[in-house]
Subunit: 346 residues, 2 copies
């Protein structure tokens, strides 16, 4: 989880509960990320990971006319929020500075999103004794990450909230492959350990992905109602309610799954492929909407099972997921050996 919800407090709580907490580098200045690393290390020796955005290649710059058209479409939104559109700039999110920071700070894991770094980046990371993961959404990406030097794959199913973490948005993703199917085809495509992500909200889902071949589960939405997360209040109110999600480029110019709200419904059709330009352009609008508590004016990133979210301390959520998974595995396994009892978890 980049940007808002991710905090040092959340990484600390997850780490202290026996999970692997993550800090987000995406959207933040390297100096801020360094402060967050220090904040975690001041409190706990638990290992943690860092997530870094791989920059959009130059060839992925927005088509100027499409971008301009979409910015015009957004002018009334800016007026509504009493904010000015941000500069739709193309940048690399401080890629080199963040890579240097990662290699200096040596978290247990660095996970890359939005692309596969070249082999020399993996070499630098490995020289610093850091484990490198790459987020994939299909088997071609899995094979490419394996070939480039990844140590593990974050296998992102269509269920996942927030940005689709795949390499290229060529419009063919169509919301993507379901987690269970993606785990099984990826397991046959590379020997790399798989970290399953997308829609995992409880111990039953954790047990399921372990059976499907994952070594671990990565959760985001499941922690967003915890007090340690910096989730906007207006989003906290909406998330536990049942309601459809959709993949949209409306907020950032890159496909991401969020709860359907007015902004998403009105602007998904017009939004072009233009990341990070649109991200920067809408940023002040989204900040203003969050501040005003206008849940129809900003991105309500959430996975497809968001209604199962719990407003409890993150450490409790992590511990309960692990305990529940263990109990379910024991029960279902016993049920298979003794057909007289019913398997599964309700």
């Amino acid at each position: 989880m980049a940007g808002g919800p991710s905090t040092p407090e959340l990484a600390i709580a997850v780490g202290q509960a026996g999970g692997l907490g993550f800090l987000a580098a995406g959207y933040k200045q390297a100096g801020v990320v360094a402060e967050e690393i220090a904040a975690v290390r001041a409190v706990t020796d638990a290992p943690f990971g860092m997530n870094v955005f791989v920059p959009t290649p130059e060839s992925g710059r927005a088509e100027p006319a499409a971008l301009k058209g979409y910015l015009s479409e957004l002018a009334p939104e800016a007026e509504r929020q009493g904010a000015a559109l941000g500069e739709p700039r193309f940048d690399d999110d401080g890629w080199e500075a963040k890579l240097t920071l990662v290699c200096d700070e040596r978290p247990a894991v660095v996970s890359f999103t939005f692309g596969c770094p070249p082999a020399d980046v993996f070499a630098r990371v490995h020289d610093a004794d850091i484990c490198a993961w790459v987020t994939i959404t299909n088997v071609d990406e899995a094979r490419a990450a394996h070939a480039a030097g990844a140590d593990g794959l974050v296998v992102q199913g269509t269920e996942a909230g927030g940005h689709r973490g795949g390499f290229i948005d060529d419009g063919s993703d169509e919301g993507g492959i379901g987690l269970l199917a993606l785990l099984r085809i990826t397991a046959r495509a590379t020997p790399l350990p798989m970290i399953a992500t997308g829609g995992i909200m409880d111990g039953a889902a954790l047990a399921a992905v372990l059976c499907a071949g994952a070594s671990a589960a990565q959760v985001g939405t499941a922690l967003m109602l915890s007090p340690e997360a910096a989730t906007a209040e207006a989003q906290r109110a909406v998330m536990p309610e049942p309601g459809p999600t959709r993949v949209t480029r409306a907020f950032s110019g890159r496909p991401a799954r969020g709860i359907v709200n007015r902004f998403l419904a009105e602007h998904s059709a017009g939004a072009p492929l233009a990341y990070p330009e649109i991200h920067h352009a809408t940023s002040p609008l989204r900040a203003a909407a969050r501040k005003r508590g206008d849940a129809d004016g900003f991105n309500l990133w959430a996975g497809q099972a968001h209604e199962l979210g719990q407003a409890r301390p993150a450490g409790e959520i992590v511990r309960e997921m692990a305990d529940e998974a263990e109990a379910i595995l024991a029960r279902v396994s016993a049920g298979r050996r003794d057909p007289g009892t019913s398997g599964g978890s309700r």
Copy 2:
């Protein structure tokens, strides 16, 4: 699996392997279905189920202009296949005749697709001592099926090949919810047993859905390369190859997932909501393409993990899935108790 691939031989093989074989009533005359039931019962006493399409309500008749426009778009396809477009008729697929047949023949289970029958239909089915399942693709449908009298829910994830089995196509489905997330939110919404379907191709996926709360798994694509299935030869050649699938209305006027081929790519954008009208219109074209071995000219229905399909006898596939699931559950469960060993299945 309605139409092509489903055969009495497949239902027999699955039943003899300890699974619950299914016969398709969809698209077939009731008399043909009766013959297939007799064919199964002549060979085995194993219980079997029947799948019946719930008719499109009158309010769901195609918008005439949209239908006409799409039929014009298809004229070159008809020419290409040397076939005439079929009559784009609106019908109920012999609903009453099939219901009567089901109640007379008393299969173990009847599963309904494309909608939820009214409560009096469940009463008739229950009077005949038949268990009634309803296919659902979201939680609202699950609640409606429970209220109407369903005994079980076929929980269809986005991964599934062929038609989306939900109630209404209002364009909001967007390819749907991933199986794992859908199982978990459905488990909290109704107390009904869940039969998981969508992308389940091996024992690891079976073990996963059992952990996620399903009582059983329903498979389609996993059996389509078996000799007992009547899968078209041109489709058999394509299915084991990795390749993207997409949800499209191009072939039938109702969303269904198939392997992307020329027909799907060229006609998905133009196809309106018009089932069963478009189904009937394209039927002769699809039959001609199958006969010619033109895999670009007909519907290659397949789930998202189709590349894992095996060309083996159906009974072997079913038995191996069950055995593999049991072994994986035992291994993962043991791994959770002993953190020194790695969990999961590769």
